[in-house]
């Protein structure tokens, strides 16, 4: 399987490529009043109003200023397109499915319930997220 690697606060995360629609630079985000704090707002994605989730906020990581590397990854879960803000996204690697290991008890910043598993690639550790839980979507 092909995995897109993104970085968030010094951790590396993996996203299966078939869940990813595109990777965008951060454009103007319009705040949506009175919603959960991790919903950063909406952007205009080629004419479609697309919600943006702030992963740092979702994982209770201190927020930082956007940099040149900051990206919005547009993912598609349950036919809903949502953008997630990450610190950087710049690598695609090919993996064997069997490399996935169950999540260890404590790992980095992220609560265990959001993690589906980890993958060891050489001396790197990639975290695979449980997108339904992260985005607070119903499983289908």
């Amino acid at each position: 399987m092909k995995v897109i690697i993104f970085r968030l606060n010094d951790e590396e995360y993996g996203l299966e490529i078939d869940q990813v629609r595109s990777i965008e630079r951060v454009s103007h985000i319009t705040r949506i009043p009175n919603t959960s704090s991790y919903i950063k707002g909406v952007i205009n994605l080629r004419g479609i109003v697309t919600p943006i989730v702030d992963l740092r906020n979702r994982f209770d990581i201190e927020s930082i200023e956007d940099s040149d590397n900051t990206r919005v990854i547009i993912i598609c879960v349950n036919d809903i397109e949502i953008g997630i803000i990450v610190d950087a996204a710049n690598e695609v690697i090919e993996l064997e499915e069997t490399n996935i290991e169950p999540p260890p008890k404590v790992i980095g910043d992220v609560e265990a319930e959001f993690i589906r598993g980890v993958i060891k690639v050489g001396n790197r550790l990639l975290i695979l997220l449980h997108l339904h839980k992260v985005l607070n979507l119903q499983e289908t």
Binding site: T30, G41, I43, N44, R46, V49, T50, I80
Partner: protein, 682 residues
């Protein structure tokens, strides 16, 4: 690929049939009011004829048969051989209904067959039975025409019903029908040009009914040296002949007068002929068929049909373009290159026009849905022995196509309900001192981000006690509960499943399928239904629908760093008040606006808008908005200006956000939220 093509052709058939059936329905209603108006009959005849032609070509024989008989009857009416009677109107209406049924069954993928024998026989009876005047014996069109001309051409094979009728008609108006054979010289180089000159010469003198080969083939020079034309004219044959002989490279012009002097007694012997004709029509080339259609209905050729999905794609592509336009504008400004600035500005203007055009393409007037109601109400009122006048207003109100497709059924249901349960019988009405004829008003209008459709009948109104009694009987609520309900809540009980207040279960409504279906459907369109009523006077059903994708005029405002759009239809006025004019009444800030005490709403607080620095102004900018007759003043920082915006929804991921009805994309590509004023006023 071939299959796809036939399907496309089928779509066209369906669309056009629907259009023509609708046109027939409308004309029939008019005709019922003015039975003497032959022009209306002609319109109906043309529609019937077109449908016949198309259905025969597509192989829907039952439709072709029925329209053919319809045509016969209409033809006789048109030629004033028979007169219109109410019974006849009913049969014609029935036929149109059956036709509609068949067309809709084709839409659903069936073969469009139906048992039309019964109606066909009835129509035949009308066409044959009523002929009395001796003068007409010879002129009925079924027995067309053994020609007397020398070439011995059988015009019956050549002409279809419509063409025969045209010839018949022009004959009776004193015109000549000529069968012209034009032979061009053998060394003629530009045959198409000569053909054109022939037609050009004939134009103005009369009408070309038929040409052999077809005009298209003639234009493509797909003929040897000669071609034939059937031509209806006031001029005599020699004039025509000379005129045509004047054209160079035309060597011979033969002109025969088509003479109809058939004498056979009609119906029984000739009943087969029309059937044959209907089949023949399949043989007549498609091109000719099209030509005929356009001839009889010239306006229809000005539109094309486009798949709505293509419009969606176009729309999204365009939105991308708008973003790039914004970037370009910015770059041009930064560079300050005057020629670049100029051409970017020009592009902006054009793309602005383009945008409006694209948006407008998706909007459809609700007329499409309302059109069929006069007919329906007429039928129902006859069935129920009630007299009613339907008053339609706001049919031009535009709604997104997707909503239009869905809203028909609920409206039918509500109209039926009003007719059946709302309006009283004429005697009852007279007893109450009302006019015997009831009124049902059907109104549509835009307000705020919503389209309202109202159905108001001046019938008996809703009886609170009766509704409560019924609901208690059905165990829907207890007696104690019932006392605490407001009128509005009581009325809403009507929308609960399985509720029917009619004493007699009629054919029309109240078959267990209650108004709950209506409510569900409208809620599925994220709309709402309200009821207002006064016992003995009126009942008003109000449907409130959101504009899913719709262009609205809006006022853009700025609060701190955020931009919001407020629909112009909600806005009464924008005003600037000195701060000292703000008063406190029971902890609520209010303002005196033209003698009304209007509560103020701080958008900054409602939307928790972050603010870097406090502004200290002794004036406040207020937008006064309305919901019904209630007002409120929204406090903003700045009015940016008026702008036409496209309403977009926030998608399914975001839960419905309080007082936000959607979003729009501004010219610079940014998203701005649209404020739902209805939610801010209580």
């Amino acid at each position: 690929m071939f299959v796809l093509d036939t399907n496309q052709y089928l779509d066209m058939f369906i669309d056009e049939s629907k259009e023509h059936l609708q046109a027939m329905n409308e004309s029939l209603l008019q005709l019922e009011q003015n039975p003497k108006n032959i022009d209306i009959v002609k319109d109906i005849f043309r529609s019937a004829h077109t449908i016949k032609g198309m259905s025969a070509t597509m192989g829907f024989e039952d439709i072709a048969n029925l329209t053919h008989e319809l045509e016969n009857v209409l033809d006789q009416v048109r030629n004033e051989i028979i007169e219109i009677t109410p019974e006849m109107m009913d049969i014609i209406f029935q036929s149109v209904d059956i036709l509609e049924g068949m067309v809709y069954s084709i839409i659903e993928g069936s073969d469009g067959k139906a048992d039309v024998k019964h109606l066909v026989n009835k129509l035949k009876a009308i066409a044959s039975g009523v002929i009395v005047a001796p003068a007409n014996n010879n002129t009925s069109k079924e027995e067309i025409i053994e020609s007397t001309n020398l070439s011995g051409i059988n015009y019956n094979d050549l002409l279809d019903e419509y063409q025969k009728t045209v010839i018949m008609q022009s004959k009776s108006a004193g015109h000549n029908a000529l069968y012209i054979t034009v032979i061009l010289s053998k060394d003629c180089m530009l045959k198409a040009a000569r053909v054109f000159m022939v037609f050009d010469a004939l134009e103005g003198l009369g009408e070309v009914i038929l040409s052999q080969p077809t005009v298209e083939e003639l234009e493509d020079e797909k003929f040897e040296q000669q071609f034939q034309i059937i031509f209806v004219t006031k001029e005599d044959s020699t004039t025509i002949q000379n005129k045509l002989l004047n054209i160079s490279e035309v060597t011979t012009v033969e002109v025969d007068i088509i003479d109809f002097n058939a004498s056979t007694d009609k119906q029984s012997a000739n009943q087969l002929t029309p059937e044959v004709d209907a089949n023949q029509q399949q043989d007549i080339t498609k091109a000719q068929e099209t030509k005929q259609t356009t001839k009889s209905k010239p306006i229809s050729s000005k539109t094309i049909r486009v798949d709505i999905e293509r419009l969606d794609v176009l729309m999204n592509l365009f939105s991308e373009l708008v973003i790039d336009r914004g970037r370009l504008e910015q770059i041009a400004r930064e560079l300050g290159h005057s020629e670049l600035v100029e051409s970017v500005e020009h592009m902006s203007r054009i793309s602005g026009d383009l945008q409006n055009l694209i948006l407008n393409m998706r909007m459809v007037p609700i007329e499409q849905v309302f059109n069929r109601f006069p007919r329906m109400v007429r039928d129902l009122s006859k069935e129920l022995n009630k007299k009613v006048e339907l008053d339609i207003r706001g049919a031009e109100t535009e709604l997104d196509r997707t909503v239009i497709d869905e809203i028909g059924d609920p409206l039918v249901h509500l109209l039926r309900n009003s007719l059946d349960h709302g309006l009283e019988l004429p005697e009852e009405r007279t007893k109450k001192g009302k006019s015997a004829t009831g009124t049902i008003q059907l109104h549509a209008y835009h307000s705020g981000n919503h389209v309202f459709i109202e159905i108001i009948d001046d019938g008996n109104g809703l009886d609170r006690e009766k509704i409560l009694q019924k609901s208690i009987e059905r165990g829907m609520l207890t007696e104690e509960q019932s006392n605490q309900l407001t009128d509005q809540q009581v009325y809403m009980l009507l929308f609960q499943a399985g509720f029917s207040t009619a004493k007699v279960v009629s054919d029309v409504s109240g078959r267990g399928v209650g108004l709950d279906v209506v409510k569900n459907k409208i809620e599925a369109l994220s709309g709402q239904v309200h009821i207002e009523s006064k016992l003995g006077e009126y009942t008003k059903f109000q449907i409130e629908l959101p504009l899913t994708l719709s262009i609205i005029q809006s006022m853009l405002v700025k609060i701190s760093e955020e931009k919001y759009a407020i629909p112009l239809t909600s806005i009464i006025e924008t005003a600037v008040f000195p701060k000292k004019d703000i008063h406190y009444v029971q902890g609520q800030t209010v303002i005196d606006f033209r003698g009304h005490i209007v509560p103020l709403v701080s958008l900054e607080k409602v939307f928790n808008i972050p603010r870097k620095e406090e502004i200290n102004d002794d004036e406040v900018s207020v937008i006064v908005v309305k919901k019904g007759d209630k007002l409120a003043g929204l406090i903003v920082d700045e009015f940016i200006g008026q702008q036409e915006i496209v309403l977009k929804n926030l998608g399914t991921y975001l839960p419905s956000v309080f007082a936000i009805s959607g979003a729009t994309i501004l010219g610079d590509g940014q998203v701005a939220l649209i404020i739902d004023c209805n939610a801010l006023i209580r």
